[in-house]
């Protein structure tokens, strides 16, 4: 049975910036089965749109350590980063999930078993949660659960 991990990232959802990224290696194909987004701060009716898009480089970010959902599992092979100062390179036309956000509610997406978003077993390839549009910025928390 695959080992499951959680990564969490928080950043201001500025247009065309990455909030959270997951990066694969040549040794594993991570499979994303859960994505959630929750606004942090005074609730307002602000809107935003994010995309989960494939990346081919890691960019520069604050490192996030994947947490094993089963404490008995070893450290994850995949790596993650949040609040990117240098954006990763996004593959054109490789949008894997479009997330429409209103700041107030929590957004949760779950994949059925066997229908996860799969990352290739290639170093520095991965996915990023990229802000595409925002009316008024707020601080967003993004959580991704994946298995490998």
């Amino acid at each position: 049975m695959a080992r499951r991990y959680s990564i969490n990232g928080q950043d201001t959802n500025t247009d065309e910036t990455t909030i959270l990224g997951l990066v694969s290696t040549a040794a594993i194909r991570p499979r994303i089965y859960f994505v959630s987004c929750q606004g942090y701060g005074t609730p307002n009716d602000y809107q935003a749109q994010y995309v989960v898009n494939r990346t081919t480089t890691t960019g520069t970010s604050t490192s996030v350590t994947p947490q094993a959902l089963d404490p008995g599992d070893p450290a994850a092979i995949a790596t993650a980063g949040m609040a990117h100062s240098a954006e990763p390179t996004y593959t054109a036309g490789a949008v894997l999930l479009v997330i429409g956000r209103n700041m107030r509610p929590v957004y949760q997406w779950t994949a059925m078993p066997g229908r996860e978003i799969v990352l290739p077993a290639t170093a520095n390839n991965g996915v990023g949660v990229l802000v595409k549009e925002v009316s008024t910025v707020w601080s967003e928390n993004v959580c991704i659960h994946f298995e490998e």
Binding site: A94, V95, L96, W109, R115, I117
Partner: protein, 73 residues
């Protein structure tokens, strides 16, 4: 058609289903009447997301293998 994923609201109730594209592996929401153009692959016998790159039949597994092979070169 059975859903491949679902979107939940604050109470944990499903508010929308998603289908998975057979070629890119991405998920998309099914919104009847939205005007979004999706597709169906006759070879894979599975839905497509409608992105231009997915209109040629390259199944997701093959797409991943091509990425991995290119990196090994």
């Amino acid at each position: 058609m059975r859903e491949d994923g679902y979107i939940l609201n604050d109470l944990g109730n499903p508010v929308a289903d998603t289908l998975q594209c057979a070629h890119c592996g991405g998920h998309f929401e099914v919104k009847p009447g939205s005007g979004k153009r999706r597709g169906w692959c006759l070879k894979c016998s599975a839905p497509l997301c409608g992105q231009a790159g997915c209109m040629v039949c390259v199944p997701m597994e093959r797409m991943l293998e091509r990425i991995e092979a290119a990196a090994r070169k």
